[in-house]
């Protein structure tokens, strides 16, 4: 590249590009597209704003400490979120490690170990397709496999396993992207010194891709936190007045309880539901903030 003869002398640029006649037209097109894109952004922002205002105005009145300490009740003024809140936390605590280990493991195998052939291409396509499968279908799978075949019953662990399957494709795909973003020069440097694949993964690839992997995982988990359908499928209860004691306990989660309240005819329950939504949104926001924080903290430049 270096010794490509420098024949292009500075004076060689003799084309005249002064005052092209189509400039006004090009500028006009530019403005039109800018307006279209700005409108798209504005629309989304407006909808989000309406949602937040509506939820807050409706729910802020019911948002009190009682909501965290009481179980669900027939009386709206006494109804609380204790069981579903704890249920959701249990759910996340179980789903996170299961889906992380399975998802990151799969991604590492596919990216770093597997030889690209038809079989791995098939797996790859299927993983991408699974990410688009409706969550109800995963619920059915969970019901047949975990609740009935493995006889786990309508337990937390059955729910967590179902949830893990649901978000697995998202974690696999985002982890693969994070792994692919590691410059291949760094991997080559490691291999060229006689490192094994695992040493290269552990010492070079993972440290460089951890921010991406964790961000993807947390975003996948925050999708799981709001999922209702698969858990209804496997038979999570809508009304319970006890806390889960082990992974075999029956349970409910926040979105199910919220859905249940909004289905009631009494206006007061809708208010409690709105308060529940506020809490759910705050939890989501917290998880996403953690994701952003992790990304910034571990960000490395190459």
């Amino acid at each position: 590249m270096k010794e490509v003869s420098q024949e292009t002398t500075p004076g060689a640029q003799t084309q005249h590009l002064s005052a092209p006649s189509n400039l006004p037209k090009r500028e006009w097109k530019n403005r039109v597209f800018k307006t279209i894109f700005a409108t798209a952004v504005g629309f989304s922002l407006l909808m989000l704003l309406i949602l937040i205002i509506r939820i807050i105005t409706q729910g802020i009145g019911s948002l009190d400490w009682q909501l965290f300490t009481n179980f669900a009740s027939r009386h709206p003024e006494q109804a609380g979120l204790k069981a579903p809140l704890i249920g959701t936390i249990w759910m996340m605590a179980l789903t996170a490690p299961i889906s992380f280990v399975l998802g990151v493991g799969t991604a590492i195998y596919l990216e770093e170990y597997a030889k690209p052939n038809r079989f791995t291409a098939l797996i790859q396509t299927n993983i991408s397709n699974l990410a688009g499968v409706p969550s109800v279908v995963f619920g059915l799978l969970g019901l047949t496999l975990f609740v009935r075949e493995l006889a786990l019953g309508r337990s937390l662990i059955a729910g967590a396993l179902t949830m893990s399957l649901l978000i697995l494709p998202i974690i696999v795909v985002s982890t693969q992207e994070a792994l692919r973003a590691v410059p291949s020069e760094l991997k080559q440097a490691s291999y060229a010194m006689g490192a094994t694949t695992w040493q290269t993964i552990f010492k070079v690839v993972l440290p460089a891709s951890v921010p991406g992997i964790l961000t993807g995982t947390i975003l996948a988990l925050s999708r799981a936190i709001g999922e209702t359908a698969p858990l209804i499928m496997i038979g999570a209860l809508t009304y319970i007045a006890f806390l889960p004691e082990s992974i075999m306990s029956q349970f409910t989660v926040m979105p199910i309880q919220i859905f249940n309240w909004t289905n009631r005819p009494q206006e007061e329950f809708h208010m409690v539901a709105a308060a529940g939504i506020i809490i759910l949104l705050v939890m989501l926001l917290l998880m996403n903030s953690i994701a952003v924080w992790i990304r910034n903290k571990f960000q490395r430049r190459f």
Binding site: K2, K187, Q188, A192, A208
Partner: protein, 273 residues
């Protein structure tokens, strides 16, 4: 130009034997063919690479010289579509032998890449990466390796005060010398250099060239270069690659003064490439 002085004295010692196969050879390449899918990138390569000398591989872009040097430590295997036939023998050991571990080969054969590629770690951590993966844990031993490797790569004086500094803070030339030091830390036998100066400025290039002259006392060096003048300055042997074939392989002074092949002469004199 500094290097040419060295080169001349070197030649005086070697002119007694006219053949290029002086001493033992580190690599014997026998009928090597390599394909990327359907495209053949290397055709019937036959080379004997002598030890403790600098062997330069020159040729125009796309002639297979980088592919060839990456075959010597089997790094081409990272590309899935690559197929090879023929043999490469490193110190009489068939490197494609199923029983021969590629990690073992790469411990003996270090590599420096086109663009400096230090790890995003401190200078110290970069050097001890190799020794650590091979199981050295003793802090004292590691400290010694760091010092001797950095001295070997002529970088010690510039960085000794702050070894904990991130390697990305170094200049391009310093980073490349750090990469050389990183190779030296695993005490290799051969150093493969794939256009090590093509991303560097002239002063850094000169430093690397001087370093190569120093290193050949202890290591066998194979260097791919796009730059013919560089090959002329620093190498003892030169192989001219064209379209995946070795057109000519001989002592460097022979190649540059009276090449046997017309194509070599055309390339050397700058008529193409």
């Amino acid at each position: 130009m500094l290097a040419s002085q060295d080169k001349n004295t070197e030649y005086e010692e070697n002119t007694t034997t006219e053949t290029k196969k002086t001493g033992d050879s580190v690599y014997k390449v026998d009928q090597l063919n390599l394909w990327y899918g359907e495209d053949q990138a290397l055709k019937n390569i036959e080379l004997d690479i002598p030890e403790r000398e600098v062997t330069a591989i020159i040729g125009p872009s796309g002639c297979g010289k980088s592919t060839f040097i990456k075959t010597l430590n089997r790094l081409t295997e990272m590309i899935p579509s690559v197929k090879t036939s023929g043999g490469i023998y490193y110190r009489s050991q068939d490197i494609f032998d199923k029983k021969y571990k590629v990690e073992q080969l790469r411990t003996k054969v270090g590599m420096v890449f086109q663009n400096p590629n230090p790890f995003p770690k401190s200078i110290y951590e970069n050097i001890v990466y190799g020794p650590k993966i091979h199981g050295i844990k003793d802090k004292k031993v590691l400290d010694e390796i760091v010092e001797s490797s950095l001295k070997g790569a002529a970088l010690w004086e510039e960085v000794k005060d702050d070894l904990k500094r991130n390697a990305f803070g170094l200049s391009g030339g310093q980073q490349q010398r750090l990469c050389i030091a990183r190779c030296l830390a695993i005490e290799p036998d051969v150093l493969l250099m794939d256009e090590p100066t093509s991303a560097l400025d002239p002063i850094s290039t000169l430093k690397i060239e001087e370093l190569v002259q120093e290193l050949k006392k202890n290591y066998s060096i194979i260097i791919v270069t796009h730059n013919m003048q560089q090959a002329g300055r620093i190498s003892d042997n030169t192989a001219f690659f064209l379209n995946g074939e070795v057109v000519e392989y001989d002592r460097t002074d022979k190649i540059f003064s009276s090449p046997d092949d017309k194509r070599t002469e055309d390339y050397i004199s700058g008529r193409f490439g």
